[in-house]
Amino acid sequence: MTNILTQNDIRHVDYKDVDLLKQFINPHGRLLSRKRTGLTAKQQRAVEAAVKRARFMGLLPYIQK
């Protein structure tokens, strides 16, 4: 199964790419599981780190009502 990152040949996940990161969070702002994202373990870790950086900098919400 291919995922968004592999399909678009994205090797590094940047915390500033908010539109890309929004693909990996649910409407409540929580990270989706690997089962749902279809990412490899390495990619999932990179996405998690990027989302957490984006949250800290106020680019993404911690929680969404």
Binding site: I4, N8, I10, H12, V13, D14, Y15, K16, D17, D19, L20, K22, Q23, R53, R55, F56, M57, G58, L59, L60, P61, Y62
Partner: protein
Amino acid sequence: MAEEAVKEMETDTDTGIARIYEIGYTIMPTVKGEDLETIVGGIRSEIGKAGGDFIAEGSPSIIRLAYPMSAEEGDKHLEHDRAYFGWIKFEADVAAVRMLEEMLKKNASIMRFIVFRTVREDTRAKMKAPTLREVKRTDTIQVRPRRAEEQAGPVSEEKLERAIQDITAE
């Protein structure tokens, strides 16, 4: 074998090795345009002073924050829903980065900052994230009628009565 491991550990902790770092920062929205330049200039000069090389930069622009961020202004705590966000990618050694972190902590105009190791190449994704609706305003949506158009026109009373009788007979 053991010597090699020790050597590797030494090189890891060696502060002289230049590495690629990126700093992201949010500046208070109350800062004026001219002061913004001096703040960013201060960060740049600090990197330059420590012997760092610039790789890329994103100039600060005002963004709407995903959640209200509290910041101290004087002795008051204020919440901001907007801030100037910018970033700088540079090459420097660990000691330079530590100095830079100390300098950023002292700066009261900087609400938050983040420093982390990255790679030299551009990490921004080239793709356009797919959106739910990719329909342009100029696109015309053709709708086919669900059933064949009925014949319009006046219907004679005889035909109408016959039709009613057919229905009631059933």
